[in-house]
Assembly symmetry: C2
Homo-oligomer: 885 residues x 2
């Protein structure tokens, strides 16, 4: 087996084996670009290393053989004091992990070769500088002696000399520093090896070892890169950008990575090593300034950049070094870019005829669109300085929101009826949900991206800044501190859930809009996708937003949201009524409200389907919190055992206790509620059908889909559907107008999926509620799992990812697939969709495409993302199917 490849033995399509960097160095070499000679040790070796926990035998023999070729090509010899070859050793995995793994430069220097180099270059300062860098990097990366100790010693030296810049330190001082570094390493129990071959063997091993360091692991977690890929290791002859003013080093993008504009965008430093640009120690110059300085080099570079963009069919990220007036390419890779740039580049390049529309659609990561589609802080407002930035936390749920600070969920509910509020909490828990829903935004001092606050906020599309440790919340005194500022209840603040920033005052915001390029890209996407995309929307405003973003219907309209706000007292009256007639009296008051809601939604969605879910949550969610009430009752009891207030509170507490459940998630909700209190869904159905009739009268075209939640046994569906059919028929008979409607059910508990054949006989559509289905299939309560054990599970790789974020294919997915098959077996054209957070997750959208669902539904702001993801799934599936043939 071949473990080591010279650059001219590889190619760009060997990324698996050579890593991205190695494959691209090979590709550039083969198309004739000026690449310093070198070779790549394969990822196979890394995997072997991880298995053996030591380097494979005889590997170094192979390395030495390739090194000899490099020696021939460069005319230098590794370790030869007369004409020493120096090399760099760098990691390079299949997927780019910038700065995540380790690099060592100038390998091959020792006391003897350093002197040889000085004889050749006549530049002792340069050589000693390279040597001291090597010792520091080597000790840090290979010998595990942190850089800091070396840096401190260098700082001390500079202080003693009275100089500021590294470049001002003279050669003899650097020579002295080399001695200091070597003895410091010795003090730390290690010895910098003088034998270049030993240096090389140790460095290669260190690169492989670095695959499993913490930074790399964290990065892979975030980027969803499998942990078992391993990295390759690239050994390349050194070129130096720090050999004087005719030398330099830089990085460039073939287009602007921020805006996507078609201008080369780069930075460089004269007389510097490559690491200096990346590290940001000296402020680099704009690439255009190279033109007057080295016009020939500049032109050569532009030509290379053009050629590479054409060759790779994408915007590229390049690294180069100029050594004594000669240009060398050290790296090229597909360039990272902002969402905005990604869209523009893809559309521009397709329009330029450089790539196809399919490639343009496949070339934008849907997740990047998220940045573009939420209400944003107006940058002009910030630049006025009128809105001081208070703190920065994690951008946990994108979007900007302003409101008055409140410090408890109860107070949020109370004040929200009067004015917008931002709920500020140390952290949130399930008891706070009511208050969270009532708020325009949420700010917490503790908790990460999967904390309760973050998850709930994202689920409901409420902007959220989480884990803002720069603030200190005192909820008892109703205030928080940020720096030397104190913000009290009622003070206006603004949060930016995208950037995590918190501002004082009500910062003007701007509505997101689809840019022209994005619109074009999505129109192309629409041509390729098979999956339809709907939105979750509970009111006319959200419905409008959904249409604007391209939704083809509403996949989930949650009716219970219509029972909060000023309707809450009527809802509570209904719940507290002692008998059915009392409940009916309250429901009669709610009917006109619900009807108006539906009229508004049907008008906006005319001609498009609207799936309305009947009441779902347990009734206690509409009543005051149990613990608060209990406290009040006890306090009243202590004060006066007979007050009328106490009697009233006790009555309320009694009812709350009647409704309380050990496991509300698995309790009296969904269709169970409809069976116990059919009058509630009777009212809802009446409101839906009356609204449809009214909208039809107005000349619009309502398409009504009534959805019964939480069905587990076909009989639940049958009973409720039969009853509501008769209600609908009565309403239509009374009005003398017929409207089309259909009935369907959520498939959100395992038994529904397992018996989907029976269920399909009695409904026209299924909507997979994969959030609840994930909870029951895993036996995870989301409220409890996240923040308690789920984080640990994801961190420790017990689960490949959070199944609430990305649909679990092996378990939950198996049920979805089964239900889709069973359903279609009985009712060939049953409509199948998914609603909930997974509908806005690209991997989950791809799964929905694969199992042949008809649509996905997600929050309006995620509709563009879902459109793109659906198109990509269709294109990829087409590719993978044709590959199978």
């Amino acid at each position: 087996m071949k473990n080591v490849y010279l650059f001219d033995e590889g190619s760009a399509d060997m990324r698996d084996l050579l890593g991205g960097k190695g494959a691209n160095l090979a590709e550039m070499t083969n198309i004739g670009l000026p690449v310093p000679p070198g070779f790549t040790v394969t990822t196979d070796v890394c995997r072997e290393y991880m298995r053996l926990n030591r380097m494979p035998e005889r590997l170094m023999d192979e390395v030495r053989a390739k090194l000899q070729v490099v020696e021939q090509r460069t005319g230098k010899t590794f370790g030869d004091p007369q004409n020493p070859l120096l090399v760099s050793v760098r990691s390079g995995a299949k997927f780019s992990m910038p700065g995540m793994m380790d690099t060592i430069l100038n390998l091959g220097l020792n006391d003897e070769t350093a002197e040889g180099m000085i004889r050749l270059t006549n530049n002792p300062r340069f050589v000693y500088d390279a040597y001291r860098r090597l010792i520091m990097m080597f000790c840090d990366v290979v010998l595990d002696i942190p850089k800091r100790g070396f840096e401190e010693r260098f700082e001390a030296l500079k202080h003693g000399l009275g100089v500021e810049q590294d470049t001002d330190v003279p050669a003899d001082a650097l020579f002295e520093l080399i001695g200091v570094f070597k003895s410091y390493a010795r003090e730390q129990g290690a010895e910098f090896p003088m034998d270049p071959r030993e240096q090389l063997a140790m460095a290669i091993e260190a690169v492989f070892r670095s695959w499993n360091n913490e930074r790399a692991n964290v990065y892979r977690e975030r980027e969803k890169i499998p942990h078992d890929l391993g990295t390759a290791c690239n050994v390349q002859s050194m070129v130096f950008g720090n050999l004087g003013d005719d030398s330099g080093t830089g990085v460039a993008f073939t287009r602007d990575p921020s805006t996507g504009e078609k201008v080369i965008y780069g930075e460089f430093l004269v007389n510097a090593q490559g690491e200096d640009v990346v590290a940001g120690i000296r402020t680099p110059l704009h690439l255009s300034e190279l033109k007057p300085m080295m016009p020939a080099i500049y032109d050569e570079f532009l030509q290379i950049a053009d050629r590479l963009e054409l060759h790779y069919r994408d915007m590229m990220d390049l690294e180069f070094t100029i050594e004594r007036g000669r240009l060398y390419m050290l790296q090229c890779r597909v360039g990272k870019r902002t969402g905005r740039a990604a869209v523009k580049i893809a559309v521009d390049r397709a329009n330029e005829g450089l790539i196809s529309r399919e490639e343009a659609v496949l070339g934008v990561n849907p997740v990047q669109l998220d940045q573009l589609l939420h209400r944003q802080i107006d940058p002009n407002a910030i630049s006025t300085g009128d809105y001081p930035e208070l703190a920065q936390g994690l951008g946990a749920s994108p979007g900007a929101a302003s409101g008055h600070a409140v410090f408890t969920a109860a107070r949020a509910v109370e004040l929200a009826t009067e004015k917008p509020v931002i709920l500020v909490r140390p952290e949130t828990n399930p008891d706070d949900v009511k208050g969270m829903l009532a708020s325009k935004g949420i700010l917490t001092a503790r908790g990460g991206m999967t904390s309760h606050a973050a998850v709930v906020a994202r689920g409901f599309g409420i902007p959220c800044v989480a884990g803002c440790e720069a603030i200190s919340v005192d909820d008892e005194r109703r205030l928080f501190y940020a720096g030397n500022q104190t913000i009290r209840e009622g003070d206006a603040i603004t949060i930016d859930g995208a950037t995590g920033k918190v501002f004082l005052g009500t910062v003007p915001t701007i509505e997101p809009e689809l840019s022209n390029e994005l619109n074009v890209l999505l129109t192309w996407a629409d041509e390729f996708r098979r999956l339809r995309v709907r939105a979750n929307a509970d009111n006319p405003e959200d419905s409008e937003k959904a249409i604007e973003f391209g939704a083809e219907g509403i996949g989930l309209c949650r009716t219970e949201h219509m029972f909060f706000g000023d309707r809450l007292p009527i809802m509570q009256e209904m719940i507290l009524a002692s008998d059915e007639s009392g409940r009916r009296a309250a429901l009669a008051k709610l009917l006109p409200f619900q009807r108006e809601d539906f009229i508004g939604i049907f008008e906006v969605m005319s001609g498009k389907p609207v799936t309305i879910r009947l009441i779902d949550p347990p009734l206690h969610e509409f009543l005051p919190d149990h613990e608060t009430l209990l406290r009040e009752v006890i306090m009243l009891e202590v004060a006066n055992s007979d007050s009328p207030a106490l009697i009233e509170k006790r009555r309320l507490l009694k009812r709350v206790e009647d409704l309380r459940e050990s496991n509300p998630m698995l309790g009296m909700r969904g269709v169970r509620l409809s069976i116990r209190f059919p009058e509630i869904v009777e009212m809802q159905t009446t409101a839906i059908i009356e609204a449809a009739i009214e909208v039809k009268r107005r000349g619009k075209e309502p398409i009504v889909e009534i959805m019964i939640p939480l069905v587990g046994h076909v009989n639940e569906l049958k009973i409720v559907r039969d009853y509501l059919e008769s209600v609908a028929q009565d309403v239509m008979a009374k009005a003398g107008v017929k409207v089309d409607y259909s009935f369907g059910t959520m498939i959100e508990i395992p038994r529904a999926a397992l018996t989907a054949d029976e269920i399909a006989e009695h409904c026209e559509f299924f909507s997979f509620g994969t959030n609840d289905l994930t909870q029951t299939t895993f036996g995870f309560s989301r409220d409890d799992a996240e923040g308690k054990f789920l984080d640990i599970y994801v961190q420790e790789k017990i689960l490949p990812e959070n199944p609430f974020v990305s649909l679990d294919r092996n378990g939950v997915g198996r049920l979805v697939k089964m239900a889709a098959e069973y359903g279609r077996r009985i009712r060939r054209h049953i409509k199948l969709g998914i609603c909930g957070e997974h509908g806005g997750d690209p991997a989950s959208v791809e799964f929905c495409h694969e199992v042949g669902l008809d649509y996905v539904s997600c929050s309006p702001y995620r509709v563009p993302l879902a459109r793109l993801a659906a198109a990509q799934a269709a294109l990829r599936y087409r590719v993978s199917v044709s590959e199978d043939k």
Copy 2:
């Protein structure tokens, strides 16, 4: 299609079509027994009636044709005043439903035929009595005018005459009563029809209608009889047991239905109609007393009884009437019996060579064994004199029960949710069934061993004392008198359904033991069954009980039970510890306790497998209740804001709140706990292995199976298993002794079943936790569902039965089957079992046999039941497989 069958056109194997009663009347007719001629309208007609909601056309033509044959055979003519034929009309479904549906006697009487009958019999009293009974029954059953109005009028008449017994009312008064009854019916808006053919048509329809009355529905629910079978309707020429002292009527069992002894057991009344015996209005005579009164009839009856037992190969329940010295058989069916009798009869009959051992094993309903394994009154408790004996009645259904006295069925249903109740009634009727089922025991003042109360109680295995004439029940004032004592609603009483004794207070009871016959039957069962039977036991005592009842191992040893009692403070110390070392210190104290527990269990179970489940429940279950604690803290806060007690309580409250979960069922428990706090299961594994080593040293043979609960993803299992394997190896290395052990997992959440192939790679056995699996598959929290919506679901037939009692085949069963298949595909000999309540339910045991599990595990007391059910499943499956061939 033939809708009506003469008795001689049918046979015993036509139960589906003719119902049980009709098929048996046909069979008796065909073997030459004296059965009054008649015919049966088929169950097909009933189903047709239910579909059409009216009687099928032309049915009555067919009825009239068969009626003509009956007229020929009896020499009488229906509706002919000269020689009128009278008939009875009775329901008769495939499965016996005693007293559940309606019957009308003496049909064919009207003003004219009544006079004709008088001319023939010269007995106006008898004829008018029959006529008034017909009117009353017909009005009640057909015209929906409740009996009560007629009874009141009869009572008023008797009062006016100054007589007590019905038999003392003279003919002319009865004639007058007939007029009163007819005008009462007219007042109620109905007319008793004079046309006998109209009477017959209406009566047949009423029988079919009665299939769907409430009593019948409740009965079918409980007995699991499908609702769509329908009943047949039997029309039979009347014979009269009330034509004087040479007439009579009675019921008998071919063996004692209570003890199973081989003696004919029956009761009769002279000069009475059949309904009088069943209704329990007059207390009947023992059958043996018939011998001196009518020796020839007695002998004839004994011969018939013997012949029927031989013919039907089972103990039979017979009804007969003697009309003027002539014996008629009116009904025969397989006799209901107590569990004790069922076992004895089956074993005796097999030993007598009348049936095979297979038939004996199949002939006992496993549920009936439950009665035998119920607790009995502790004789030592009685001898203390602390529990006065109140009265003695008939031991009508064995078993001892204590509870609070209640006096109406409705009240029984109401109170039974809070506490055990004993239903005390003068006598019972079918309307009381729901209340009877809700009670722990039944006590009646009137009625014999075949009274309604006795039959129903035996059928359902509820202890019952009937005919306790020593007490006087006043159900309006909610009390009963016994001697000079008054027992009111809510007072505790105890009944002994074996001896018929009634005690004041809650008398202690003792453990049951296996009778010789039961031991024999179970030994036979063991030969036939394939499924192994284990017991759930958490301590040496239960393990001993399990062995005694025939358990072949322990299928579930719940270790957390070992953390309560005097160990609870240490457990709490562990939970409240602030770090791992604190937890380890507490665990070190628990270790010796757990080791001792395991030593005890392994010793008892030597040579048999013991499955030990590692800690499962959430930790907050070991801490004080949140609400109680909260109350205490608030009270302390009000009293003194700074007391040390308050600080301590607050600390505890804080920890309880940390551990509290919104849905503990889906939270931090099972393997999740093991991953978070591996030190707990490390201690448990150490205790298990050390105990096994110690027991092995003592010369016994421990077979250890360590079970990891609540696995949902294979990685959970892998991590915990790998860790515990190393713990086990360490313990064994330290002791220098090796013991065998294996690891397995519970399959109790859907994802485990869906990915059982992945999971099987890492464990040696699966134990299906079907209680939790039912909760998650249905999305039902058992704590919340039962008592809230599940009862409604079962009552209203939304679910065919409570899935926690009998395993849901379509949903949960599908997962179990899938997991068993997946598991075996990967690991051919993986051991598969089920633990939990379903392991003791016969239908669920049959399911486990069908899907090929290796064992079921249930409470020690249900082990005999499971052994029998497993054998029956094997025998039935053998039969059904060979039938398929």
